[in-house]
Symmetry: C2
Subunit: 246 residues, 2 copies
């Protein structure tokens, strides 16, 4: 018997932002294989008897020498039901495609369960719409080092941009965006440690201070100004980040 | 007492792809206001005593003359807890920003709960990664009529493109994309009626036949070919769409 591997999006951080499907799979998983960036509150939702396998590494600690962790393949071959938890969505900078390719080569049945990607979580938690009539008709999701060079229309969200933010902002300006374009830095979106800094392409890098260990992303575009307009005429709790578990 | 309005993403169609947060809010909502495109299986998850308010109109039946439906404002003013269900994610072509602006103007506390946007649902259900190493380093979400003209790098997802697909494909080619670029049409993603057609910019429009009433989107880019490669060497059930409730 061959088991099955579920590539499951764990969402942006808040355990309540798992999908119902992801939660049910977690609760009946025999093995839970998770990235270091998946919050432990989410891993803890697995059944008490499930084997917990930390796999993958944080950004910056060297390349991962495999696509699918060998233990995941071994457990699936032994007939186990494996949930492979990935932060955000498996198919948006989650390398889910690479894992799926290898599982297919190995003949292991696989299924992908989508998750709330960090951009969507950060947008909801800050009140910044990613598209907005008359302001942004499209949104591009990219990563810091490549994305800043893109001359895309509409909103641009840069994942994994915290640690080279100054360079990213400089490249955005070089790519033709006005230096006064609003930009928001969102760290640890949807978690109790969420931190939001609002500025412009010219000012943001100097304003964020020391980026934490948590994932950070940057939303660039006039939609950032829309959120500020909403917040300024709203009662304080309205746009506050909900605490986990509330 | 003023109530509260939750702008809640209902996800791409499969009720199991609601977030846990969305499901819990639905279960305790006093009023559920929903677009016509939200599946009735999802509206049915509300408590039996909740008032159900169909608001908003389908595409093509004329513009909606309000941002927030007047009944939603009236119920919130009367102290009710209102869940405003929107297909996909409220901030990705969901007009959530406009509703949030009006709620702020009215002084009604509001909160946004993100949802699985159609692009993420369709990607997971078809095995098409939106980003993939060496193939696509970014993904742009746009709508059919505007989006096809964009010369964006990486993957392009066109929402609401089913009913003017031929024109969209022509404009993609005019914008400089090779006619042989792979493209996938996904209708009613993540539901039992899901339909997927794979082709190229040159062939897709002629292949889809009559688009249904269900929302359809198009994924354009070489990532579509990655999925085909995975599917061809995978056991049949692996990439099949899961039926609702399984």
């Amino acid at each position: 018997v061959t088991g099955r591997v579920y590539l499951v999006g764990a969402g942006p951080g808040d355990p309540d932002l798992l999908t119902v499907r992801a939660l049910r799979l977690l609760e009946r998983a025999e093995v839970v294989a998770y990235d270091e960036l998946v919050p432990m509150e989410i891993v803890a939702l697995a059944a008490p008897g499930a084997e917990r396998l930390p796999v993958g590494r944080r950004r910056g600690r060297g390349a991962v020498p495999y696509r699918v962790h060998p233990a995941v393949i071994e457990r699936a071959r032994a007939g186990k039901m494996v949930v492979r938890l990935k932060t955000g969505d498996p198919f948006v900078f989650g390398r889910g495609g690479e894992e799926l390719e290898e599982l297919a080569e190995e003949g292991i049945p696989a299924e992908v369960v989508p998750g709330i990607s960090a951009a969507l979580g950060a947008a909801a938690a800050t009140g910044i719409p990613l598209t907005h009539r008359g302001v942004a008709a499209a949104v591009t999701l990219a990563t810091g080092h490549d994305g800043a060079r893109l001359a895309t229309p509409g909103t641009l969200v840069l994942y994994m941009a915290a640690h080279n933010l100054e360079r990213c902002m400089r490249e955005l300006a070089l790519a033709g965006r006005p230096e006064a374009t609003p930009a928001a830095y969102v760290e640890a979106a949807t978690t109790p440690r969420q931190r939001v800094v609002i500025g412009t392409i010219a000012t943001l890098a100097a304003s964020i201070g020391d980026p934490g260990d948590a994932p950070g992303l940057v939303i660039v575009g006039d939609v950032v100004g829309v959120a500020a307009a909403i917040a300024s005429c709203t009662a304080p709790p309205a746009l506050r980040v909900r605490k986990v578990g509330s």
